[in-house]
Each structure stands twice: as structure tokens, then as C-alpha cells.
């Protein structure tokens, strides 16, 4: 059994490591010496990441303690998720790792973008990937084939990743200092917007085949984006998509978000995306 990841919350986790990363792990004696590249993690508690610890909270009672009474809580519903997210953020920053939460509708090209990014940054920055899907390890298989270690999280009925899932995935991946962890969230423009994972940046990937009205239709998702990538621009001559209308809608919901037009298939605009990532990637601490 793996000693450093897994806990009792939802989602199943599967780690797939490249041969290079396996040698690195064995050589440095860091965790996961399972000797096989594909490993299911059973549910068990973290020893040092403790996502289920809560500070004692004050409870105020407003009536006699024996009868019916009202108890003031004033507690954020997502307090538990936010607390684990902050712990993830601290963990990543201590180790000098950039985590990017990549969100989009299904089919916008997240996995293709990741494959192209791994090729584009090969030999410059190490990338590992957390894949979130309701079912299958199809995306993880593509990422592994493209040369990165990957954790596949299957959320089952869940429509988003949460901070505890990322905590478990990070323990499995054990990313190196100065590297990037790309988190491919479940394809969905609604639910992932609400759940802080502890990432340093939020990127929304859109594509010209989806329609220019998406920022106005899904304002919560776009409002929180640091960067919006508009993918598949090579298809602009063939689809009815008004880039100016898209940019104007985006400005209305998120005036500070950066918009970058690109095509993961042809490589147009990808250098600007690489620069954006590299500017945010910490210098390795070892």
C-alpha cells in the first residue's frame, strides 16, 4: 500500500509514471518504490497532509441548553475545501512548484494542449499532470505516451475536482522543484469554478467551435480566470465565430483576464503560452 496518498473522500486515483521519473524516484528514495508504473491507490489517511483536521470552532448557543435552541455557526460551506486548498498552495510554494488549474467545456482541446505543451517545453521545464474525468484513464494514457507522469482521478458522479483530490494526487506525483503541475479539471464550465484547489493560476481554455457567447453564458467560470486561451484558431475561416464579440463578452465578466488566441494543432500562439508559463515557474530549490 502506498504510504503517502489517498484518503476517505470521493474519487479514485491512479498513478502512471514515465520510466525516467521511476528511475528518479528509485534513485532518490522518494516514496513510491512500487516497481510498476500503473498503481491503484486504496483509501487511506495521509500521515502528514491531514486534510481532515479542523481548528476548534466556537459555538454560540442562543437559548436554554435543554429545549429547542438556535446555534449560531456563521461558517463558510466550503471552509473545509478552502482550508485544504490553502494547505496545497503552501505545499506547492514551499517546494517551488507551479500548479495551473486548466478548465474548459468537454472537447475544447485540454489534452491536446497539454500534449503540445509537453513537446514545446521538453528539456526546459518538467511537467507532470493531474487528469480529472468522470470515468476512464484515456487522457492519462495519452499524457503518459507524450512523456509525462500523470495521476488520473475518476470523479464518478462528481462534476469537478476538489482540493482533497488534488492533495492526494500531489502526494502520488511527488513533483520536483521548479516543475509545473498541470491540472486538467473535469470538462465543465460550471462546477469547477467554485472549488479552489490551491493552484497558483486558473486558465480557461475555450475554442472557436464553441460560440462567442460563452463568457456571458458562464460568467462564474470566466470571472476567475487569470488567462483565457482561445484554441482552434486555425478553424476560424470555417466557423461562424466573432473574436471581437468574444473578447468584448470576456471583458464584461472579467476585465482583468488576459486573452490569448492560439492553436494547439498548428502551434500558432503557443510561444506566448510557453512564456506565460515560464514566467510563473519558480526556480528549482535544489
Amino acid at each position: 500500500m502506498c504510504a503517502t496518498c489517498g484518503c476517505s473522500s470521493g474519487g479514485t486515483i491512479r498513478l502512471m509514471v514515465t520510466e525516467h521519473d521511476r528511475d528518479h524516484r528509485l534513485g532518490h528514495g522518494r516514496g513510491h518504490d512500487h516497481g510498476h508504473a500503473d498503481h491503484e491507490h486504496a483509501d487511506h489517511e495521509h500521515s502528514d497532509h491531514g486534510p481532515h483536521q479542523h481548528p476548534p470552532a466556537e459555538v454560540h448557543t442562543l437559548a436554554a441548553p435543554d429545549g429547542p435552541r438556535t446555534i449560531e455557526l456563521q461558517q463558510k460551506v466550503l471552509a473545509k475545501n478552502d482550508e485544504i486548498a490553502q494547505r496545497n498552495r503552501d505545499w506547492l510554494e514551499e517546494r517551488g512548484i507551479l500548479a495551473v488549474n486548466l478548465m474548459s467545456s468537454p472537447g475544447a482541446g485540454k489534452t491536446t494542449l497539454l500534449e503540445a505543451t509537453m513537446r514545446g517545453l521538453a528539456g526546459k521545464v518538467a511537467i507532470s499532470v493531474v487528469e480529472g474525468d468522470q470515468e476512464t484513464a484515456l487522457d492519462a494514457t495519452r499524457i503518459l505516451a507524450a512523456g509525462s507522469s500523470v495521476v488520473q482521478i475518476n470523479t464518478g458522479v462528481g462534476c469537478h475536482l476538489d482540493a482533497d483530490m488534488l492533495a492526494r494526487a500531489l502526494r502520488c506525483l511527488d513533483p520536483q522543484s521548479g516543475s509545473i503541475v498541470m491540472i486538467e479539471n473535469v470538462g465543465n464550465l460550471v462546477c469547477p469554478a467554485l472549488f479552489d484547489l490551491g493552484e497558483q493560476a486558473r486558465v480557461v481554455l475555450a475554442s472557436v467551435t464553441e460560440g462567442a457567447d460563452k463568457p456571458l453564458k458562464y460568467p462564474h467560470m470566466f470571472r476567475q480566470a487569470d488567462l483565457v486561451l482561445l484554441n482552434k484558431t486555425d478553424l476560424l475561416p470555417y466557423v461562424d465565430f466573432d473574436v471581437r464579440e468574444y473578447a468584448s463578452g470576456l471583458r464584461k465578466v472579467s476585465p482583468d483576464a488576459l486573452l490569448l488566441q492560439m492553436s494547439a494543432t498548428t502551434g500558432d500562439g503557443m510561444d506566448t503560452w510557453y512564456d506565460w508559463l515560464r514566467r510563473r515557474t519558480p526556480v528549482p530549490s535544489e
Binding site: H54, A57, V59, D66, G67, P68, R69, T70, I71, E72, L73, Q74, Q75, K76, V77, L78, A79, K80, N81, V157, G158, C159, H160, D162, V190, C191, A193, L194, F195, L216, P219, H220, R251, K252, V253, P255
Partner: protein
């Protein structure tokens, strides 16, 4: 349908704080700009509370309106819907209120 996970979060938080109490009412605040549909939470609530110490509890939800300040003209305004556009036409606004999603109180006994 993140409201299912949100509603489970409510139940986890209440049972975590008050594990031995029978909860008869839960009061939530769901801000107009929180991204959560109160009706969907109502729909999930009975399902998710089944078998917990919140089973059969009443759910009361208040939905405070959003409040924004325009960064261009400086006026405070209540946005009409989830997209905040100032009456002056500017979209450059700061959200001041209406994003909260919290459990305000519960009744027990």
C-alpha cells in the same frame, strides 16, 4: 450539479460541529453572486440528509443580493443577474457583497 457537493459540505460541516445533536432546522445564506442555485440545494437537501442527524430538518435559505462598485465612476450598485455591469456601461467593477455561501445557524432539540 455542484449543488450536490455543496449540500454534502453543509451536512459535513454541521455534523462535524454538532455530532450529537438532532438538527431540526438549517439556515443557509446563498449570495446572488455565489454561483450556487438555491433551488438545487433545496432539491438535494432531503436526499443528502437521509440517515444523518439532520434527517427531517427544515431548510431555510436567505439570498442576499449582490453589491458592486464601479472602478470607473465609483458608484455602488446591485447587479441585475450574475453579470455585473454598472449603469454607466462599465464592466470594470469590484464585487463587494453577494458571493457568500455560508451556514448562518442551526436549530437543535
Amino acid at each position: 450539479m455542484h449543488e450536490l457537493a455543496i449540500t454534502e459540505g453543509v451536512i459535513d460541516a454541521v455534523t462535524g460541529r454538532l455530532p450529537d445533536e438532532r438538527i431540526t432546522c438549517v439556515c443557509l445564506e446563498i449570495g446572488a453572486l455565489s454561483g450556487v442555485a438555491a433551488d438545487s440545494v433545496r432539491f438535494c437537501f432531503d436526499l443528502v440528509t437521509e440517515g444523518t442527524n439532520l434527517e427531517g430538518a427544515r431548510l431555510e435559505i436567505t439570498e442576499p443580493p449582490g453589491l458592486c462598485r464601479c472602478r470607473i465612476c465609483g458608484v455602488n450598485f446591485e447587479p441585475d443577474g450574475p453579470i455585473a455591469i454598472c449603469p454607466c456601461g462599465s464592466a470594470e467593477v469590484t464585487v463587494l457583497a453577494g458571493q457568500d455561501l455560508k451556514i448562518t445557524s442551526v436549530q437543535v432539540g
